[in-house]
Amino acid sequence: MMIKLDLVTKVYPDGTEAVKEVSFEVEAGELCVLLGPSGCGKTTTMKMINRLIPITGGKIYINGGDSTKMNENELRRNIGYAIQDIGLFPHMTVGQNIGTVPSLKGWPKAERNKRAEELLELVGMNSGEFIDKYPSELSGGQCQRVGVARALGADPPILLMDEPFGAIDPITRVRLQDEFLKIQQDIKKTIIFVTHDIYEAIKMGDKVALMKEGQLVQYDTPANLLYRPKNEFVEDFVGADRALKGLQLIRVKEVMTSSLPTVKADEKAEAARERMEQEGIDWLVVVNDDGKFLGWVGKAELGKGELVKEVMNSSAITVTVNTVLNEALSLMLSSGANNLPVVSKDNRLQGVLSFDIIRKALTEVSQRRQSE
């Protein structure tokens, strides 16, 4: 186990009890979400882990060692830290920002640069383009990415993230969440992630610690939080639409159809018609020679031209295998499409997600709840 909180308490000099006897353990490689309404003590709890706020009772063990016995700056250099306000250093370039902790640890310059390049690519930014830019030249989403890259600077085993995707628009937030989950699959950090957003918590967390007025109410998996709420507070906090929220727990790859008839853009419309009849369907996915997604073609359009590419509907609305179902559903509803192509990072077609599939998943989720 990586992080262990044992009856951790924070009482301020004026007598306010911000955190009361909170205990939980986070295994190595796990993402633990601290969730709760504002003022519930989640941020305070997080900041006690890297000792930005001193604890007044109980113990915090990092990798088995009592954190109060460690040098506080050494401790912090081994715990990545990303906050909602990001706090990028405006007078330093993106590369220098990411290299902050490596530089504190005395890495040579060449190594710091190499690491910054790697991390920029990891968070989906072109290193050549961005490494010498200043924070003021970046968009909000790019700043968040750099903030995460900086937290990963010296490859710390532990990350603390305080609403790291809080201050950006919902679309970018969803994208950053997805990307971060993907990164986490590779880097397997032990993460404490603070949020007040139940959707984010269910989506991101391996475990969720729901807090209220400084106390830990339930520490559980997202599924148990949804379907086995410990008390009324949890039930209220989770909300009545738990079936819909349950869609957060399912990813496209678990339910999508992966064997599907396609047609190439250069093929004749006639060939497409034959294939549709063969399969007994009235639409096909159009791809190019590399298997990259281009669009759709329906039976009704086939007569309008000779080649498939002349009659197809090109579309840019796609999902990935890691998209969670409720986001896919809301994409479908907003775009009016009944089917969404599932594509890889380089737009290669991997499958199709249909409205029916989602409906089926939704029924299963609700049944699971009733049977429990």
Binding site: L52, E72, N73, R76, R77, T100, L104, Y134, S136
Partner: protein, 244 residues
Amino acid sequence: MRRRVILIGLLMLLVGLTIWITNLEWIKEGVYKPFTWGDIMSATISHLEMVVIAELIAISIGVPLGILVTRPGLRRLATPVVGGVGVGQTIPSLAVIAIMAPLLGFGLNSAIVALFIYGLLPIVRNSYAGINNIDSAIVEAARGMGMTRGQIARKIELPLALPVIMTGIRISTVITVGTAELAVLVGGKGLGLITLTGVFSMQPLTILQGAAPTAALAITLGFILERIENSMTSRGLKVKAAMA
């Protein structure tokens, strides 16, 4: 760019004016003691001397003082210190300078002490504000990443506050060049001697002989300090200014 052309034009106008007045034949005869080109040069140099000495003292005391009162233990002192230093500037400059004579006697030292007191406020206030106005998220991020207090001060706070501190020094210097005109009243030297002679002998052109070089000096020092300020400011902070 355009601003620089205007500044240089103004500077040339002031210097040209001074040269023209100094070379007028009837001035040389009409005034009780006509000021020669040499008088003006040496007055300018001693004026500059007073300003530089007073400013060096004001900087070496004002900058650390302004920064110190932003530190956690000393934050309570910020209001009294910045306010106290401000009192110096609420009193008219003439009074500050005049009061030095009875306190410290007539002489160059009184003049320099007066100029120092008068120039202190912009430096202390800007040093304090420069550090104090840094986004707290930036300092928190630095702390959370394991920077020591000293590292935060050196690598984060000072570079971020530097442009504001330098602005304070520039404002203070330009003000002090003007205030130094009065230094002659308590036994100081400088261009004030020429200006005030013009005033007391009611010779407008002689006033200009002292006032024009003073203005030229203020413009030149302001310009040089602005260039220094610019070269010391991180490009990252300038991009922001350009976008805002």
